[in-house]
């Protein structure tokens, strides 16, 4: 049932619509590496540039097995790793040489750091106008906070998401995953392919800059315009938003069910399925706007219908009636669902170091003409230093060896497992 997905391809086989695109991924933590990971999902040759010491600090944040970061196995899947010491001029020189051989440079260093190191877009593109350089920051390259550090949670709170999450009488609540990292990662991938499309059209590269807080704000489009139209800043509403009925309801057997009745047809089907036909033409509940206004009144009628049925019977009843409905899955539920593996929502990729397949999300989606693929788990820091320097720059293994001694580059395994 659980497929050994990676074994389907040769270990070097990159496939997909971005095959032939080479990306230098000099970025850390979650969001920007996720962008490069998405490009790699669709066939781009991604070379991750990491610090010579312990590599990307993200390796120290997640669960470790045998001293290796599991998160990196996923975020950096399909990538090669080159360890360079960008604090040394020799390391920076190698970086500039590598940048001249790639289509995309992706980075999330602070602006002041890029300037100090002479690795700005202006410098890198001077002799390579086709280059697309992608820069991700917390707040953007301009504005009063351009050099402020910030992670996803700061960006989420900055954008208004955190304030709007939680119960009306409780504190603001983070969502269970650092959404801004995911949103920034996907938006970055969109931005990079847009610039690649333009480069394909005109031969001209460019600088693409994105901020985590900007990406979040763009996403929350309904909040801004609603505030602007009404002057009322959306407050925390728990699980109740601007659609009714819409929420997480508990069933007779103590499980949770999600029921968003978002369209007029869905409302009709919902009422009919629960034997509440009289509500369909009830003037109190005619439009979504009416139902939102009288949410409590409505809940008093519908909640007993949920509480008197088991999850399975309610789910089947509503699903058969064509009402959007779903379970609140834990990871265990997802793993136990055969469809997760059959649909390749979950895949296993074999890992020689761990001696087993590592489970991770598959490629989303399947493109009919040009599917992407996963051919390898994330590498160790510097695992491919020698290979890449040879392949892109013609640097011999002896030369690489001598640069290892001076500390400009590193090869192979982590120095220590303790971060």
């Amino acid at each position: 049932m659980q497929r050994q997905h990676a074994d389907d391809d040769a270990t070097t086989g990159r496939q997909g619509p971005l095959s032939g695109i080479r990306v230098l991924d000099a970025s850390t933590m979650l969001a920007a590496p996720y962008t490069a990971g998405l490009l790699a999902d669709f066939g781009a040759d991604v070379i991750k540039v990491e610090d010579c010491g312990d590599g990307d600090p993200m390796r120290g944040l997640s669960h470790r097995e045998d001293g290796q970061s599991l998160l990196s196995k996923v975020t950096n899947r399909n990538k090669r790793s080159v360890a360079l010491n960008l604090r040394s001029e020799a390391g920076r020189d190698l970086f500039r040489q590598l940048a001249s051989k790639v289509d995309v440079v992706s980075t999330n260093f602070r602006m002041s750091t890029l300037e100090k190191w002479g690795l700005t877009y202006e410098k890198l593109s001077a002799t390579h106008p086709e280059l697309v350089m992608y820069h991700l920051s917390a707040y953007g390259r301009s504005g009063p906070r351009r050099d402020d550090p910030g992670f996803a949670r700061v960006a989420e709170a900055h954008s208004g998401l955190t304030y709007a999450s939680g119960e009306p009488d409780g504190p603001p609540l983070f969502s269970g995953y650092a959404i801004a990292d995911g949103v920034g990662g996907v938006h970055g991938a969109f931005a990079v392919v847009l610039a690649l499309y333009e480069a394909q059209r005109t031969g001209q590269g460019q600088l693409v800059e994105l901020s985590l807080s900007g990406a979040m704000l763009r996403l929350l489009e309904g909040l801004v315009v609603s505030y602007d139209a009404t002057g009322v800043s959306p407050e925390r509403t728990g699980n109740r938003n601007n659609v009714a009925p819409n929420g997480i309801y508990q069933t007779a057997d103590g499980r949770w069910i999600v029921i968003p009745v978002t369209s007029p047809n869905m409302w009709t089907r919902f009422c009919a399925a629960l034997g509440l036909d009289k509500l369909i033409d009830d003037p109190r509940f005619r439009s979504n706007n009416d139902r939102v206004q009288r949410r409590q009144e409505l809940d008093e009628i519908i909640v007993p219908e949920f509480e008197s049925r088991t999850f399975d019977s309610l789910y089947e009843l509503l699903r058969r009636a064509g009402v959007a409905v779903g379970p609140v899955n834990s990871m265990e539920d997802l793993f136990d669902d055969a469809a997760s593996w059959e649909q390749e929502a979950l895949i296993r990729v074999s890992d020689a170091r761990l001696g087993r397949g590592v489970a991770m999300p598959g490629i989303f989606p399947q493109l009919s003409a040009t599917p992407g693929g996963v051919h390898a788990v994330g590498p160790e820091p510097g695992e491919h230093t020698a290979e890449v320097l040879d392949e892109l720059l013609g640097i011999s293994s002896e030369e690489t060896e001598s640069m290892v001694k001076t500390g400009a580059v590193a090869v192979g395994q982590l120095k220590s497992g303790n971060l």
Partner: protein, 394 residues
């Protein structure tokens, strides 16, 4: 400055948030988007509050830059007109359930026959294959299905939705990313294709450590309120002026700088020199940080922490955002003119390109562009258009 997607025409036969967002993102970079709506109500979002003077403010943002054409796809003539529109288009974005499209005769085979280079993005709740393929679902169903809802909320409370249906947002951006990949591929090969995306998939794909960790440890991640599983301190802390501060001092360097500000008489906190040690002592660390943040106002804390290079932030309301100098300096918001509502403040496109410009205008009235768009079709006469209107097809 150029609009990279100028000349790209997208037919968007889709509703609610995710698929329309994909189209609107592409429109911001120059694509012409023709939105196909059901003739009576139009897109359900037209009923989403706040509704001012009969116009839904959320609709106007999600559907900005688009033309609106009404077509009843349930009628054979309406479906045939959609396929005709796709002959001269580059892409179709659609989010109806597979069985509905099948019933209406709008299949990928038929679309491909009409236009082999057409890129079709079909965004549904669960994707086109598998046992749930035809289940309806919205963002909240997708979030809960993908596991996000289960891990959101307090450990002893119920599961929570984030304050915005993030699956819709992420699905929309992901859809725009994929459609652009489709354009790149088509430019190289001339080949169109069907892109099949489930709304839950970008959420599942995004939570990268979620699957691998369960697989390894068998530990089912539950709800942990505002605590973060791998890092500490990282949370929302109260301030002396009853506001909140986000403080994710999750790297070792930031922790070292933060410890200097904390009450640590025995040096016990300073000795917690790894994320795993701090996660293990979370109650102690959180208590020390709370003691510190409760002594200062929010703005004092921000100055104090920023000066030391420690990541922190405010928990903004949307009113704070609209007034924020950084948001203004970045040009994150822009005003557009709407014929019904006057001026509207909306998000500007994000991602700044050196050579690419963007464009924003308001969302259309229902069917505003029906005559213009259908009138441009071959074999369309004013008489036929009138007949279609009478038959309720448009």
């Amino acid at each position: 400055m150029t609009l990279p997607l100028a000349g790209v025409r997208i037919i968007e036969a889709s509703t609610v948030l995710a698929a329309p967002l994909a189209a609107s993102l592409l429109s911001e970079f120059g694509a012409e988007v023709i939105k196909i709506e059901e003739p009576t109500y139009g897109d359900a979002v037209r009923g989403f509050p706040p509704v001012v003077d009969g116009v839904s403010a959320p609709f106007q943002v999600t559907n900005r830059n688009k033309k609106s054409v009404t077509l009843d796809l349930r009628q054979p003539e309406g479906a045939a007109l959609l396929i005709d529109l796709c002959r001269d288009a580059d892409a179709l974005i659609v989010n109806y359930r597979p069985s509905a499209l099948e019933r209406w005769g709008i299949t990928y085979d038929r679309l491909r026959e009409a236009n082999p280079s057409l890129i079709v993005l079909h965004l549904t709740a669960f994707g086109l294959g598998g046992p749930y393929s035809d289940h309806p679902g919205f963002g909240r169903v997708a979030e809960a299905f993908a596991g996000l809802t289960h891990i959101t909320g307090e450990p002893d409370g119920s599961p929570y939705f984030p304050g915005y249906p993030v699956a819709d947002g992420v699905g929309g951006i992901y859809g725009a990313f994929l459609l652009t990949i489709g354009l790149i591929h088509r430019k190289a090969t001339g080949e169109g294709q069907l892109i099949d995306l489930g709304l839950y998939e970008p959420i599942l794909r995004m939570m990268e450590d979620f699957v691998v960790r369960y697989d390894l440890t068998g530990e089912v991640k539950g709800r942990s309120g505002n605590d973060q599983p791998h890092s500490c301190p990282n949370g929302i802390f109260p301030t002396a002026d009853d506001r909140y501060l986000v403080l994710p001092a999750s790297t070792q360097n930031m922790w070292v700088r933060l410890v200097e500000l904390l009450d640590d008489p025995d040096g016990e906190l300073a000795q917690m020199d790894s994320a795993s040690k701090r996660v293990a002592a979370r109650p102690k660390v959180n208590a020390a940080v709370t003691l510190f943040t409760s002594q200062y106002s929010r703005d004092e804390l921000i100055d104090l922490l920023r000066a030391r290079g420690i990541a922190c932030g405010t928990v903004n309301t949307v009113a704070d955002i609209v007034a924020d100098p950084h948001i203004v300096a970045r040009g994150n918001l822009t005003r557009i003119t709407d014929p019904d509502l006057g001026e509207l403040l909306v998000q500007a496109p994000i991602g700044k390109f050196t050579t690419i410009s963007t464009t924003v205008s308001t969302g259309p009235r229902l069917g505003e562009h029906t005559s213009e768009v259908l009138g441009a079709l071959k074999e369309m006469t004013p008489q036929r258009l009138e007949a279609l209107r009478e038959a309720g097809v448009v």
